[in-house]
């Protein structure tokens, strides 16, 4: 556990002989432009778990996702990121993806000339593209052969990004603000999808600043001041988050 981190006493503390977590982050630090973004951050995501990461805007949640994925410019200045016990240091994005880590980006990029079908086939191990689209509320007849360019709305592009998680069936899905840009009536659909990702045997790190989204998680952590300030049940994490934000 990191310095100053609270732990929910109602939950059993992890025993020293517990199984290796799927994602283990130990004393992670990250600096950008001489500014400390993350410091001594410790976090574990267990197998078959939805783990919510709550935090205010600019608290470093997306930065953490990029560090886990190995994006350029996001090498930690200290600490380690382990996946199923293996240190990810030095591995490129595609090598991490091949281990089973996938990231649904907060603001998914657009591609000229790349069809939704093609995109959903890249690295796919799960259901067919049409089925993935249906499960995020998009009609395959309309969207399957659309191009992933500016002609899609922000919400449509976001759903396609989530559909790609279903298609890839990663062992660890990093979902960065999956509810952003999604209309309220569709939120339940997205929550079901997140639960489905865990149901397939994977784990989910659910990054959000919306506490209602975090309620579907098995556990939640609250990120504040570059550190994990609390880990425990989602309701308590939400309370801590609300108190700090106020």
């Amino acid at each position: 556990m990191g310095h100053g981190e609270e732990h929910d006493s109602a939950l059993p503390r992890m025993a020293s002989h517990r199984s290796v977590p799927l994602l283990g982050i130990e004393s992670l630090a990250y600096r950008a432009d001489a500014r400390t973004i993350l410091e001594c951050l410790t976090l574990e995501v267990r197998k078959n778990e939805i783990h919510a990461l709550l935090g205010a805007n600019g608290s470093g949640k997306t930065t953490l996702a990029h560090i886990i994925m190995g994006c350029a410019g996001y090498a930690p200045s200290a600490g380690a990121v382990r996946f199923d016990g293996h240190d990810l240091a030095g591995l490129a994005v595609h090598e991490r993806a091949r281990l089973g880590i996938a990231l649904a980006w907060q603001e998914p990029v657009r591609f000229e000339g790349l069809s939704v079908h093609h995109y959903l086939c890249l690295g796919a191990h799960g259901p067919a593209p049409a089925e993935c689209l249906r499960r995020v509320g998009l009609e395959p007849e309309i969207f399957l052969y659309r191009v992933l360019d500016k002609s899609l709305s922000g919400g449509e592009r976001k759903r396609i990004e989530l559909a790609s998680m279903l298609a890839m069936q990663p062992r660890l899905a990093l979902l960065d603000e999956p509810a952003a840009g999604i209309d309220m009536p569709s939120l339940e659909e997205i929550e079901r999808l997140i639960i489905d990702l865990r149901g397939g045997g994977g784990a989910v790190l659910l990054i959000t600043h919306v506490e209602s989204v975090a309620r579907i998680a098995d556990r939640a952590s609250y990120l504040c001041g570059g550190r994990i300030a609390f880990t425990g049940d989602p309701a308590t994490a939400a309370v801590r988050y609300r108190e700090r934000v106020r």
């Binding site: 994925m69 994006c71 350029a72 490129a92 994005v93 595609h94 993806a97 091949r98 996938a102 990231l103 980006w105 998914p108 990029v109 591609f111 000229e112 000339g113 790349l114 093609h118 995109y119 890249l122 690295g123 790609s164 890839m168």
Partner: protein
């Protein structure tokens, strides 16, 4: 020439279709031609140059694309073509121009084209080049296009297979009232290819509209210079230029958009991006397990599609 076309294009069989107008030119000689009702073809061979005129009759709607197959199969050759393409008022046609230089080591192709669209006529002009790997071609298509009132002109030039060699496109489109023009060029340069594109769109008529879209991918030592010019000359004229050039290795690219508006109620906008492959796009595809090389291929193929 026909067999080369059959090798390179799946739709080559359409040339034997009696309902498809076509003209096949090898070097400066016509080797096959066919008209259909509503399409008139006139050709004159003058030794080292060839003059062709293609006229679509007033109100004629040509359902099957007109094919023009132009090129030469030898290692050396010079081709000089003067082409006049005229769509009478209300006519509608698609022209598929296949330009084949599969074995050229030192050749040139110069095309001087005049395109005229009468009122409300619509032309889709799709020009696809296939050059071999030797890179010895010098291609100079120069087009002057005049659009009548309410005419629609869509042109799509692509040279994405084989080695470009030297390419110099010079196109000027003048649009009358309510006319619409969309000009697209897609080129993949490699080796020591030199690409020069100058597209000029004059929105002379009231409520005329136009788009110049350019997509270039360069690698190794290739060079590209893209000049897009849009002139807004009338009330309600709307123009946009969109240029994207991807650069890798030692390649160099330049984009020069020129916005020239001389009417207070005209509007012309532009966007140009020149640089390496977008890091976010690259990492998004790598996060699907693609190697950086495969991810770049997907991105480049997409923008040239």
């Amino acid at each position: 020439m026909l067999s080369a076309l059959a090798t390179l294009y799946a739709d080559a069989a359409t040339l034997t279709d009696p309902h498809t107008a076509h003209i096949v030119i090898e070097g400066n000689q016509v080797i096959s031609r066919q008209s259909v009702p509503g399409v008139e073809l006139r050709i004159e061979e003058h030794g080292e140059r060839l003059a062709a005129e293609l006229v679509v009759a007033q109100g004629a709607r040509i359902e099957t694309p007109i094919h023009t197959c132009i090129g030469f199969l030898g290692a050396r050759g010079t081709q000089r073509i003067e082409m006049r393409l005229r769509l009478a008022p209300g006519a509608n046609a698609t022209v598929l121009a296949h330009c084949l230089f599969p074995n050229s080591e030192a050749g040139s192709h110069a095309m001087q084209a005049g395109i005229e669209l009468g009122a409300t006529a619509e032309l889709h002009y799709v020009e696809g080049h296939y050059h071999g790997l030797a890179g010895g071609m010098n291609v100079r298509p120069h087009l002057a296009v005049r659009l009548g009132t309410g005419a629609h002109y869509f042109s799509d030039f692509s040279l994405t297979q084989g080695t470009v060699g030297r390419l110099h496109i010079d196109q000027k489109v003048t649009a009358a009232d309510d006319a619409v023009a969309e000009i697209t060029a897609r080129v993949f340069g490699r080796g020591t290819d030199e690409i020069e594109i100058r597209d000029e769109l004059v929105l002379a008529g009231r409520a005329s509209r136009g788009l110049i879209k350019t997509r270039i991918a360069l690698c190794q030592d290739a060079r590209a210079n893209v000049v897009g010019i849009t002139r807004g000359r009338a009330e309600g004229a709307r123009g946009h230029m969109d240029c994207l050039e991807l650069v890798r290795d030692r390649a160099m690219a330049r984009a020069e958009p020129i916005v020239d508006v001389s009417h207070p109620l005209a509007k012309v906008t532009h966007e140009a991006a020149v640089g390496t492959v977008d890091q976010s796009q690259l990492e998004t595809l790598m996060a699907h397990g693609l190697t950086p090389e495969d991810a770049i291929d997907v991105i480049v193929t997409g923008i040239l599609r």
